[in-house]
């Protein structure tokens, strides 16, 4: 059984009388445990809507979303689903509940009634995992954006999730902050946590095992970074290729031949060297 399964899931926002915006239209895919999936697409293509379907913040208007076999329509299991699938949002300031960092990390476990001693252990462990232990007693307002996002990740980790969804969690950060968060995400993925990372940054997407591309609420591409970047549809989806891929494509037009699609600088260097020899 796949860990995440979408069967023809659609979602419409109601806006005013009888008016709806169809944000997702019949999306189906499944994700296995431990995958690192990048979800991308233009602004308004439905990425955030899809993310909110994955932990039951929204239930699909049609179709089904199953998390470890549990249908998100099952209201009795809503909290089980939210414990399994944690979510880190875009704006680090708008997802922190408590002033003191350790209190914020404890918020989730407190909500689900974990005993006190265990909360303390989980908070210690989660802050350690994101490298924020020394800040635990401090107030969040003095942290950098990257540090705030790491606290937000710790807050999700304290729920011991199987899946973490990042909804453009790096988009408001400086390059350093982005790198910090990507590193944490990869580290967590290495421990077996499934990562769904929504991003506009193709360099980030290139580091995933798999890229899913949405366009106007429909799933249009789903494959490894090499497959997706090689697809002629990429540009129609409004995506800018990573600089290395773009350069390789231009070189190809001028007669270079790369044995496989380039996704990063290393691949580019190797490809060029192979030609020169």
């Amino acid at each position: 059984m796949p860990q995440i399964e979408l069967n023809n899931a659609s979602y419409s926002y109601r806006v005013g009388e009888g008016q709806t915006v169809r944000a997702l239209r019949g999306v189906s895919f499944s994700v296995e445990k431990g995958e690192f999936v990048a979800l991308t697409g233009m602004n308004g293509s439905g990425k955030s809507t899809l993310a909110k379907l994955l932990n039951g913040l929204f239930t699909p208007s049609a179709g089904d979303v199953l998390i470890e076999g549990i249908n998100t329509r099952d209201e009795e299991r809503t909290f089980d689903i939210r414990r399994k699938a944690g979510m880190v949002f875009q704006n680090p300031d708008n997802q922190m509940v408590a002033t003191v960092i350790e209190d914020d990390v404890a918020f989730g476990p407190e909500n689900v009634g974990i005993p006190r001693e265990e909360i303390v252990e989980r908070v210690d462990w989660a802050l350690e995992a994101v490298g924020m232990s020394e800040f635990r007693k401090r107030s969040a307002s003095k942290l950098s954006g990257g540090q705030k996002q790491r606290v937000a990740i710790a807050g999700v980790l304290a729920m011991k999730p199987d899946i973490i969804i990042f909804d453009e969690s790096t988009s408001m950060l400086d390059p350093e902050g982005r790198a910090e968060i990507m590193e944490v995400a990869k580290k967590l993925n290495a421990t077996g946590i499934t990562v769904i990372s929504i991003t506009h940054n193709m360099d980030e997407a290139a580091q995933a095992d798999r890229i899913i591309v949405l366009r106007k609420g429909r799933l249009v591409l789903d494959g490894t970074p090499k497959e997706v970047f090689a697809s002629p549809e990429v540009e129609a989806c409004g995506l800018a290729l990573p600089p290395a891929t773009e350069l390789a494509r231009m070189l190809t037009e001028r007669g270079f031949a790369f044995s496989e699609t380039v996704t990063d600088e290393d691949g580019l260097v190797e490809g060029i060297c192979a030609q020169l020899n």
Partner: protein, 280 residues
């Protein structure tokens, strides 16, 4: 430009007073505030000052930090003193000019009122200097918990308090950003009369409001995503526990309370005339 609200006036020294249970500190502050309204002799004020001084020393607070909070009420005290001085009549007339009159009772009442206000603020500031706002909020939640039996939504109130505390610095930062953005477009905030200035604030307040609603919306999703539910099943990581210092503190303030009551209802002004002789 402003101190972190999370710590407010908090002056960390790690003293035993700082480490006391916030619930006890709140309770003792309330007891102190009640007691000080019963003080009506100079002897009573001396005891009060001595108790405050003892706490300041134990908490290792610099005198200046306590006096700073008094500075905020200097004008109120001066104004109230002037009014009292001329309005209260009784006893010997010490000075008079046309219909204005100062009497000896007026002088005593005024001095006592000023002392009461100043000592009251000193006492209250001892709480905020040794306790973070977050601790005060947690302590308040715990103290008002019994009210849930009369259907007061204690947990919701506590949640609102803690979110408000959390967002004050964020909104403050945002206000500064919007002001800077409007200034860059040529807005001016410090010229013109009161009305012109108030009007100039409008282009700041509107985006601030709109953004606050957006923030509230996002925060609600973030809280839901972390399984927020205001039910009884919630647990708390931090449990407050009374320690030896709390009991000692309680005894100290209780003794002070009793002393004040004895001074007022049993000794009357005896101690004052013993100490100050004919002056009072």
């Amino acid at each position: 430009m402003f101190k972190d609200v999370a710590f407010g006036q908090y002056y960390p020294t790690g003293s035993v007073v700082h480490r006391m249970d916030p619930r006890m500190k709140l309770l003792l502050t309330i007891m102190f505030v009640v007691a000080i309204f019963f003080v009506n002799t100079y002897f009573g004020f001396m005891i009060t000052a001595a108790v405050l001084l003892a706490i300041i020393l134990i908490a290792r607070l610099p005198m200046l930090s306590v006096l700073k909070s008094v500075r905020a009420i200097v004008f109120i005290v001066l104004f109230a003193s002037l009014v009292n001085l001329f309005m209260i009549k009784g006893g010997e007339v010490l000075w008079s000019w046309k219909s204005l009159q100062i009497t000896d009772q007026g002088v005593h009442t005024t001095i006592k009122m000023a002392l009461r206000l100043v000592l009251l603020i000193c006492g209250a500031s001892l709480l905020t200097l040794t306790t973070t706002p977050v601790e005060v909020a947690d302590g308040t939640e715990s103290l008002i918990k019994p009210l849930k039996y009369i259907k007061v939504p204690v947990h919701d109130i506590a949640m609102i308090m803690s979110i408000a505390l959390r967002f004050i610095p964020t909104l403050f930062e945002e206000t500064n950003k919007i002001i800077a953005a409007q200034k860059a477009r040529g807005a001016s905030f410090d010229t013109g009369g009161l009305i012109a200035r108030a009007k100039a604030m409008l282009p700041v307040l509107i985006p601030l409001f709109v953004n606050s609603f957006r923030r509230a919306d996002e925060l609600a999703f973030a809280m839901d995503a972390r399984c927020y539910n205001a039910t009884e099943n919630r647990t708390k990581m931090k449990v407050m526990k009374l320690g030896a210092a709390d009991y000692v503190g309680f005894l100290l303030i209780a003794a002070y309370f009793v002393a004040i009551m004895l001074d007022r209802y049993y000794f009357g002004g005896v101690m004052d005339s013993l100490i100050f002789g004919g002056l009072v």
